[in-house]
Symmetry: C2
Subunit: 129 residues, 2 copies
DNA sequence: GACAAACATAACGTTAACGTCATGTTTGTC
DNA sequence: GACAAACATGACGTTAACGTTATGTTTGTC
């Protein structure tokens, strides 16, 4: 039962710094985790998952503001037909964007690799005088 | 023969502002295009292509500094007098980074897809009363 | 050759996304 | 219960990637 953890564990598990966590709290990207009494903040597994998802979305090219607008749809089930339709639309959009980006990166990767091989070839030929 | 154009045409064709062009010149991302005499800058088709390529690479998540490391590979006939061993090292780093990014995005893509299917399933079941 | 539009240069400003530093409090361990 | 490690809060700093403002010069058209 790791019911809750403090910021040290959180940052380590999510791979972020404590300043990132505080910043995200301050802009409402993640819940603040404050508890009464001692002034300590306590977090759960969900916060870890949220931070990881945020990182993924960032890599997709979304700003934190954009992420804030949609992050909940990855964690909370919308009830009702219309909200669900809306979520589905956004998810499909993200899927398409991810596909595009993956494709672009694969092309980029191929370009880089071709160049690497070109250089390696150059060194090889030079070696043999 | 559009041998050369001035900054107005350049920015329009490449879809950037003149400040972006100046900034890129200042950090050595594109040649400065200065000519003697009148103080005007003249650019060619290659500059347009360069700007577009830069934009493409930015969308993949590369910083301008990273782009500067590799942009010439897309336009120059390498060989210049560049330190090839160094370029090769940089290229290998970029290859590794690209692989990581691709992997991350594929994981993300899989998550989204699972999510989408979950929603579709929900709609399907509901359809059948 | 007058004159507006396009251009050049310089300096300061801005925004996102955190980092760093300073200082005081809580927790956990001996 | 002493004490180091972990944590909290606040204020100021930083970096990338440009934007904005101000002022003077060139170009192209009538």
């Amino acid at each position: 039962m790791k019911e809750s953890m403090r910021i040290g564990d959180l940052t380590q598990r999510a791979g972020v710094t404590h300043r990132t966590v505080r910043y995200y709290e301050s802009i409402g990207l993640i819940p603040s985790g404050e508890r009464e009494g001692n002034g300590q903040h306590y977090y759960t597994e969900e916060t870890v998952a949220r931070l990881r998802k945020i990182d993924q979305l960032k890599k997709l090219g979304l700003s934190l503001e954009e992420i804030r607008d949609i992050i909940d749809l990855y964690f909370y089930d919308q009830s009702g037909v219309q909200p669900k339709q809306k979520v589905l639309t956004i998810l499909r959009q993200h899927l398409a964007e991810a596909d595009q980006k993956i494709e672009g990166l694969q092309q980029f990767r191929a370009d880089i690799k071709a160049n690497i091989e070109r250089f390696e070839q150059w060194f090889k030929e030079r070696e043999q005088h």
